[in-house]
């Protein structure tokens, strides 16, 4: 069994590291770099905020009595509760992917491989994934905490033990919850409208919560209100609540107190019990999951047509094709509709925070410049849908080439369809910013023109790039394989463009307004951003349409 498990583990390892071993042409290097940079930024930002907050929190006195290690214990218990929840959720995701998403189990189940070997290889692979995830959640937090106050060898030794045990706990929780979570996701995904509404609602709620928490912490740190917020009564309540945050309290004991042996004992006991339950349930689920017996019937979204469609002009026929493709594929529908709905909310939340922060820093009105930056940035993130515009057609793209329609109709319909979603989201965002009085009516019109021009530029660029590197889905009704670099390149360039526009707008807005006059600064900012938008639009149109006919004919192979 161990030999077979070893062979399977090699296969799992190849899959985990396949992104790094693919040929240079197909590897998504920009995507990997972007992920690393974004992960580093998120970790660095979290650690920065935590450091500031922890330094302030451990100095808090209750009835004029200082107890920095007591405060650190409360903070550690609260943070570890979050870490345990995040790791458990990640464990559920990892186990669900291992059991239900990978097609390999269906092949392995037909081979002379014992279920024990399959289970062992899957769990070892899951452990490695969870260890890496735990490493990047536990270690930065513990290093940050140790930078706030001197901590002894116990803290570092127990950190190492937690790094070993936490993946086991998360996998065990994942195994126990995998089946109910899978059943729930299948139930939701089989109800199309419900799944779309739930996904949109949850994403919007997550962004709202994130912005609220960020706003609250920024407010506490920047104003120094923290000391007033954490008064004696509040602190007593915090002490009481954190004392009941099981099992996070055991982790805090392990790391910080003399009750370390008891803490270790409890954590080991929890790990053993959960692992036993996880192994039992995991083994029981493995073979049925491999045979696709668990809720397989719910997995397909069923649609029955109604009546005979009306006759339409060719361009509208292609527009309808794009619409049908989006509306009948839940993941595309989420990316097309939900992101368009969420974009105005994000613009609103961020406009609120940025406007307040910049207003505190400089005595000039920079709302137009901030709005330009935010709408361009969120518009670019919303438009990533169009990065798979060609690939999404799959093999049908080749069939279209045998039909009596020219490339302008096919590509034009794609540009138009993407533009509709983008234009609605941008217009609502601008309407919100204008309606809430952040900008003047004429500024709103200008904002709309500039951001729409950049949206069109992005759509044209994305479509042309996808035409150059299409990744057609091979399986029937499968989603386009968007694992190549088109999406990453689009996001990277988009973020660079939005940052450049933001810097140009804010520099002109703030520096020139303070140095010369408000009207001069505003004129320069407006003109500079308009010039960048026009240049981007013209470049993207030329990039898309120059040699498009030849490129369109070349897609299936050979020179035109």
């Amino acid at each position: 069994m161990l030999r077979t498990a070893g062979v399977l583990l090699k296969k799992e390892a190849r899959e985990i590291f396949s992104d790094f071993t693919r040929t240079r042409k197909t590897a998504d290097i920009p995507g990997k770099l972007l992920t690393l940079v974004l992960a580093a930024v998120i970790v660095a930002f979290t650690c920065f905020v935590l450091k500031r907050f922890a330094s302030m929190y451990i100095d808090i006195e209750i009835n004029r009595v200082s107890d920095p290690y007591g405060r650190l214990w409360e903070l550690t218990a609260a943070i570890y509760l979050v870490i345990i929840i995040v790791n458990a959720l990640s464990g559920v995701r990892t186990i669900n992917r291992s059991l239900f998403d990978g097609g390999d189990l269906r092949i392995l189940v037909t081979l002379p491989i014992s279920s024990g070997a399959m289970y062992l290889s899957k769990m070892v692979s899951a452990y490695v994934r969870q260890f890496i995830f735990g490493f990047f959640t536990v270690l930065p937090v513990n290093i940050t905490l140790s930078a706030c106050i001197p901590l002894g060898a116990q803290f570092y030794g127990m950190t190492a033990l937690i790094l070993v045990l936490l993946p086991m706990i998360s996998i065990a929780v994942g195994s126990v919850l995998a089946l109910p979570v899978h059943a729930l996701t299948q139930l939701i995904s089989s109800r199309y409208v419900v799944s779309l509404v739930v996904a949109t609602g949850v994403t919007a709620l997550a962004f709202w919560l994130y912005s609220e928490v960020l706003d609250f912490i920024a407010h506490l740190i920047s104003t120094g209100d923290a000391r007033y917020f954490f008064d004696a009564e509040t602190m007593r309540e915090i002490v009481r609540i954190t004392g009941e945050l099981f099992p996070a309290t055991f982790f805090a004991d392990m790391l910080l107190t003399s009750s370390m042996p008891a803490g270790v004992g409890w954590v080991l006991l929890i790990t053993a019990v959960l692992t036993a339950a996880g192994v039992l349930i995991g083994r029981l689920m493995l073979v049925p999951a491999a045979q696709n017996k668990l809720f397989a019937l719910n997995s397909r979204h069923v649609y029955k047509g109604h009546g005979t469609p009306a006759s339409k002009p060719v361009f509208l026929t292609f527009m309808k094709k794009e619409f049908v493709q989006v509306v009948r594929t839940p993941s595309y529908a989420f990316r097309y509709f939900s992101t368009a709905i969420i974009m105005p909310l994000m613009v609103y939340f961020c406009m609120d925070i940025f406007s307040e922060l910049v207003g505190m820093l400089v005595p000039v009105d920079c709302n137009l410049e901030i709005a330009v930056f935010l709408i361009v940035m969120f518009g670019i993130l919303t438009n990533t849908y169009c990065a798979g515009n060609i690939s999404r057609d799959g093999e049908f793209f080749f069939t279209m080439k045998t039909l009596p329609v020219n490339y302008r109709t096919v590509i034009g319909a794609k540009v138009a369809f993407c533009f509709i979603g983008s234009a609605v989201a941008t217009t609502v965002s601008v309407g919100l910013v204008g309606g809430l009085g952040y900008v003047e009516p004429w500024q709103a019109v200008y904002l709309l023109a500039v951001t729409l021009a950049i949206s069109v530029a992005q759509i044209c660029f994305a479509i042309r790039r996808d035409l150059g590197h299409p990744r057609f889905a091979m399986a029937e009704s499968a989603n386009a394989d968007e694992g190549d670099s088109t999406v990453s390149v689009l996001v990277i360039i988009g973020l660079i463009v939005s940052v450049v526009i933001g810097i140009v707008a804010l520099y002109s807005g703030i520096y020139l307004k303070l140095t010369y006059s408000e009207s001069y600064g505003e004129t320069v900012a407006v003109a500079s951003v308009a010039a960048i938008a026009a240049a981007l639009l013209i470049s993207a149109l030329v990039y898309l349409f120059a040699g498009l006919d030849k490129k369109y004919r070349q897609v299936s192979g050979g020179e035109a």
Partner: protein, 254 residues
């Protein structure tokens, strides 16, 4: 405008298909997939493009339908060139791909309507035509279901129905019998014969010798991107000769 185009499509006296010196090489390939072939297909004919895997049959059909670009040689459909903007040529034929590349997010009926709109077929004609095609291909109520829920054979049938909705003068099929059950193969064969009897031309690729013997008037045997034989399969002894060409190549004749 579109209706006029459709009415005029395939009315020319020129051959339904004329391939002259077609050569096709894929990027970075060492050898030609099609090494210079010439043939014609005329109205009322059923022609089988016969060859083993990798012989160049599909490449030829893909060049002919505009799916693949090519540099060397000329192809025309009812006198309309396929190189460059081949819209006029494409109006004359219906094509069934070998991989059932249909738009699987549509229902069968929506797919036929989609194809009809592209060829400029009005709604009344489309509905009448769909009814006629249903009699032959018999998808029943399943025509209202998403194509992604169809079986292999049903997908083949909806591809064929979509390719025929504009009543083309030329029907091109790439490996049409692959994976079909015997009943459907019989129905498709019968439909091809009726179609040719009404003056339509049929050109299909296959590696199934028996299908060519049963259905075709003429067979073009391709091997290594070149034509080995272009012969009738209706005469006495033609069948054995075709088999020798297909299995052993031109050397067998010498």
């Amino acid at each position: 405008m579109r209706k006029r185009d459709l009415a005029a499509a395939g009315q020319s006296d020129a051959p339904a298909v004329r391939v002259d010196g077609l050569k096709k090489k894929y990027p970075r390939a060492a050898e030609y997939a099609v090494g210079g072939i010439s043939f014609e297909v005329h109205r009322g004919e059923i022609v089988g493009l016969l060859g083993h895997n990798g012989a160049g049959k599909s490449t030829t059909l893909k060049c002919l339908t505009g799916m693949l670009p090519y540099k060397e040689g000329e192809i025309s459909v009812f006198g309309n060139p396929v190189k460059g903007d081949a819209t006029a040529a494409k109006m004359c034929f219906g094509f069934v791909t070998d991989d059932h590349a249909v738009f699987s997010k549509m229902t069968g009926l929506e797919y036929i309507a989609f194809m009809a709109d592209i060829y400029g077929v009005d709604a009344a004609t489309r509905d009448r035509r769909t009814e006629e095609l249903q009699k032959c291909f018999n998808l029943g109520d399943k025509i209202m279901n998403l194509i992604s829920s169809y079986s292999h054979g049903m997908k083949q049938k909806i591809c064929m129905m979509g390719s025929l909705v504009h009543d083309p003068a030329l029907w091109i099929l790439d490996e049409p019998m692959l994976g079909l059950d015997p009943t459907t193969i019989n129905a498709v064969s019968e439909f091809m014969r009726e179609y040719a009897a009404k003056g339509g031309a049929v050109l299909f690729s296959t590696h199934n010798l028996d299908a060519v013997r049963r259905i075709c008037d003429r067979a073009i045997v391709i091997r290594g991107g070149l034509i080995e034989a272009d012969m009738s399969v209706r005469g006495i002894g033609d069948s054995e000769l075709l088999e020798r060409f297909f299995l052993h190549g031109a050397e067998a004749e010498e």
